[in-house]
Amino acid sequence: MAEPVALNLLLWLPALGMALLVAAPRAGDRAVRYFTFGVMLAQLALAAWLYGRFDGSVPGLQFATRIPWIADWGVHYHVALDGLNLLLVVLTAFLGPLVVAGAWTAVREHVRLFHVMVFFIQFAMLGTFVAQDLFLFYVFWEAMLIPMFLIIGIWGGERRIYATLKFVLYTAFGSILMLAAVIYLVWSLSRSTGIASFDFTDLYRHRLPLEVQTWLLAAFALSFAIKVPMVPLHTWLPDAHVEAPTAGSVILAGVLLKMGTYGFMKLGFPLFPDATRLMTPALMTLAVVGIVYGACLALVQTDIKKIIAYSSISHLGYVMLGLLSLDLVGVQGALVQMVSHGLVAGGLFTMVGMIYERCHTRELAAYGGLAKLLPVYSVFFMILTLASIGLPGTSGFTGEFMVLLGAFNAAWPRWLAGEALPIALAVVAVTGVVLGALYMLWLAQRMLFGAVRVPHGPVTDLGVRERVIMIAFVVAILGLGLFPRGPLAKTELAAREYQERVLATRLDEGTP
């Protein structure tokens, strides 16, 4: 039984790294970088090994550790992998070393503190994913806020104070409602069963009247919807992205945004299935509005980072659509789309960081003809652009295609039964693929083509370190695009479980 140990090690490695860095105030910048990178690599190796060991033919949790933590409240330290968090854990571990390598030359001030923060956020993100206890989940969920806040606040751009304030306010607002809902949920569980437990498995069995379900879902949903982000709770994202240093943007787009969709999938929808079905039309409409709205706004931005930020809103709309379709293909597509977006947006932000390091501006108008000047950079940028558009062969296609197919599969029978909204939403979502091409190709055209134009004189093409980073992104993107069969086989049972949970009825007809 080495796997549970490995999973715990995976989770606690960044915490250990953080502690060591804090304990070594005299360590040189170079040593700090190598150390962090090494730990991240070890973590990636653990994640890869666990991925290989994960058995897709077994339902439920695997490699679990469950130790009583606060016995009186029924809180456990309970961590495990399942089909829902598996790919996200691997994604997080995969992005770790790339973030550190990407910041190698970009972060020059407070280097040690920066890497402490990267470890911190890595720890909190992994914890949120693997936690199987609501208390533990909430602790990690809140803990993520602190390092992100500091990363933007310390290494951010000119308007970083405004951006962090906005980020914190939005997130805190959501968190508080979620906290209230968590307390109420656990209290009502203990009242009706006599057991105090924060364990997801116990909570999944808890029955609640529809009205209570609706209120609790609303509270959870608000918190998750802010993280996704869903329109109209999204305006923190462009500002946070623009002001964040590259590493912050990559973590934000790569992993943090998935916390919202993961929260819906792991908690929001399955905990309150009856309320979810009630609110599906509204949530689905918001998801599709997000697809179109995000794409339209991406079209009129002048800051490269903002274009990608708004494109995230659009792409995560697809994830929500897939989750809400409750069709197996759609749910599986949503899982792929989450990972895909992490890779594509993470890669794009990394590339924006690379050009920013050279030219010190993110204004799109300042650039042109880079294909002539920086051919290697341009090839990678083009591949990421195409992945973002969802060209077949890239991970973007796998995700979008499956989500749309699933949404359509779910909507068509209902259209035949006289319900027009789902099919209308599916059709609008399909047209989103046109808008996606519109803004991304416009971005590529302005940056890469036309007459050569760069601010601040001569620039050099990507160096070896940068090339290796980009090759890693591209290999992952093509891998998930061309061979999605393996990952899909590992997540299928979990997707089915999700489907069954949300389709089940858990109404409590008695008094609340």
């Binding site: 962090t164 906290l179 009129v300 077949p392 599969n409 069969r485 899909l488």
Partner: protein, 624 residues
């Protein structure tokens, strides 16, 4: 590895080799790899062809399983029957010729390796498209050729106009692809499979599938209008001429643009059950053919004339599809591949000879200066004009016949418009021939000095294509395809008209020739007088009916306006951020009053957290 997989992978290997190593290994290596692999693919196709049995038999090969969801599997599988065989032979055959031609045409271009890499990439995707067993694999190829087309149209990307043209092509195609996707989803939902053979069988089977064939047919046809440049999505093809001329010949004439025709022909089992969709296809086809031919009358850029001619000829193919003559449509794909590739490559040779000049008003008198180009161009012109016994005559004549007599939607009106379009075709093509080669020279002194015949790598290819344009019609493709796609029944009361109609068709071609001779034999004078007399019509035609302007005004600008003025400025900034800022101001004031310390964001956060917990406890208390 199976033979079909090999056919597909050969050009991909070429792409990878030239893309990754090309610039370092020099031109000889690039040319060798770039040409040898497509030729190898052609030979492999011939080999596969010999394995193909008679009639409806097919070779099927599964490369690998892309994904399995809920028990249904999405395979990357290839399907090689007589239809795929014809298409694959065209793609690899004409493709190889154009690769060879390109070694001469692109000789001095600094992006030589990149060019061949893209061209091989195109072949790879095109082969996926025509060999894919399922709609999904076909779609992968479909999007992929769009990418290759995008990259090659914008090949000279330093010119913003060329990059813009590439983007326009991609996005217009994406609009069509949305229709393709919806059609595919609908089919998958109804049948649980995307395999072409299974789809056709399901629609031909005793129990009709629970989905409207016409709805699916129309949605997929939306995809076809994008790729095959039919109204209303034709606007990208003329702009696509920004790419190097061999690219125009290969992608935007001979192969990629016929993908929509292939798709409909491939799904003939479905379209046979979709009379409404078929009718729409015929109407769109004939309207596009006519519309594009009228625009071609007044174009002055040699490539633009050919581009509109391609749109028009594709319209003819859709007419054939619309009246159920699927084999005839493929026949025209086949002959068109020869004569249109020959015309484009001929135009390339002219442009090459004149050092980049593309305006026919500054050409003339080239017949004696570049005789091989002239001779081959003339043969191909006669072929497209439908003069017997050249290739175009056979296929076009059959289209006209079925447009008239097919019991699946043929009509006198359809025939009449198509025939008139054929007349226009002959006219504008001979106009082009006269203005380029036969009228007295209107070249500048400098250009005239520069004129030279192209190298053998180009002229030999021209000669081969001219020969194929001349004799290709004697291979009766519809007959070969009959086991897969029988020709539609024709009205027996009209059979006595078949010979008179052929004579009439030949006379139309000759009339076009005579008309062009009459107007253009002495140069531009007479045409300019005509244009002045009908200034309004002339403006409308040279403005291409202002479709681009219309789309920009109705879609482009409003989209930007709404995104910028409404969504960004009002939605995001005023409403959402505005309320947020208001709330913050209120909260900060409250926090300041409560704690009497300067309100930082973290204090505010703690305050809100405390409030939340209090609210939760209150809730618990109330219910407890």
């Amino acid at each position: 590895m199976g033979l079909l997989t090999l056919i597909v992978l050969l050009p991909l290997a070429g792409f990878l080799l030239n893309g990754l190593l090309g610039p370092r290994l020099g031109r000889t290596f690039v040319s060798l790899v770039g040409c040898a692999l497509p030729i190898a693919a052609f030979l492999a196709t011939l080999r596969a062809w010999t394995h193909l049995g008679g009639g409806e038999s097919a070779l099927v090969e599964t490369a690998y399983t892309w994904a399995v969801v809920g028990g249904s599997s999405f395979d990357v599988a290839f399907y090689f029957d007589r239809l795929s065989a014809v298409m694959t032979l065209i793609v690899t055959g004409v493709g190889s010729l154009i690769h060879v031609y390109s070694t001469g045409y692109m000789k001095d271009d600094p992006g030589y390796a990149r060019y061949f890499a893209y061209l091989n990439l195109f072949l790879f995707f095109m082969l996926l498209l025509v060999l894919g067993r399922s709609l999904l694999v076909c779609f992968v190829g479909w999007e992929g050729v769009g990418l290759a087309s995008y990259l090659l149209i914008g090949f000279w990307f330093e010119d913003p106009e060329k990059a813009q043209a590439g983007k326009k092509a991609f996005i217009t195609n994406r609009v069509g692809d949305a229709g393709f996707l919806l059609g595919m989803f609908l089919l998958y939902h109804a049948l649980g499979t995307l395999d072409f053979d299974a789809i056709n069988a399901a629609f031909q089977g005793p129990v009709a599938p629970a989905v409207s064939a016409s709805l699916v047919g129309l949605l997929l046809f939306v995809g076809a209008t994008g790729k095959s440049a039919q109204i209303p999505l034709h606007v990208w093809l003329p702009d696509a001429m920004a790419g190097p001329t061999p690219v125009s010949a290969l992608i935007h004439a001979a192969t990629m643009v016929t993908a929509g025709v292939y798709l409909v022909a491939r799904l003939n089992g479905l379209y046979l059950q979709a009379p409404e969709a078929s009718q729409v296809i015929a109407v769109i086809g004939v309207a596009t053919a006519f519309f594009a031919a009228t625009v071609a009358l007044v174009q002055t850029d040699i490539k633009k004339v050919l581009a509109y001619s391609t749109i028009s000829q594709l319209g003819f193919m859709f007419v054939a599809l619309g009246v159920g003559a699927y084999g005839v449509a493929v026949f025209h794909v086949y002959t068109h591949a020869f004569f249109k590739a020959c015309l484009f490559l001929g135009a390339g040779s002219v442009i090459h000879a004149l050092g980049g000049e593309q305006d026919v008003r500054r050409m003339g008198g080239l017949a004696r200066r570049i005789p091989v180009t002239f001779a081959t161009f003339a043969v191909a012109t006669a072929a497209i004009a439908g003069l017997p016994p050249l290739a175009g005559f056979f296929s076009k004549d059959e289209i006209l016949w079925f447009a008239y007599a097919s019991e699946r939607g043929g009509s006198t009106l359809l025939w009449a418009v198509a025939s008139f379009t054929a007349l226009l075709t002959a006219f504008y093509m001979f106009r082009l021939l006269w203005l380029t080669f036969l009228t007295p020279s209107r070249m500048t002194h400098e250009t005239e000095h520069h004129v030279h015949e192209s190298p053998p790598s180009m002229t030999v290819v021209l000669a081969v294509l001219a020969i194929l344009s001349a004799v290709g019609g004697f291979v009766h493709v519809p007959h070969y395809l009959e086991p897969l796609m029988p020709l539609p029944a024709t009205d027996p009361t009209l059979h006595h008209l078949e010979t008179p109609l052929i004579v009439f068709a030949v006379l139309t071609g000759l009339a076009g020739l005579l008309g062009a001779w009459f107007v253009y034999r002495n140069g531009l004078g007479r045409a300019e007088r005509l244009a002045r007399r009908h200034a309004g019509v002339h403006r409308l035609l040279s403005g291409k009916y202002y479709v681009d302007e219309l789309y920009d005004g109705v879609i482009g600008r409003p989209l930007h306006w709404v995104s910028d003025r409404v969504f960004l400025r009002i939605g995001d900034r005023r409403i959402i951020d505005g309320s947020l800022h208001g709330l913050v101001a209120i909260a900060q004031r409250a926090a300041g009053r409560l704690s009497r310390i300067e309100s930082g964001s973290l204090q505010l956060y703690v305050l809100l957290a405390a409030l939340g917990v209090a609210a939760a406890l209150a809730l618990v208390w109330r219910h407890g």
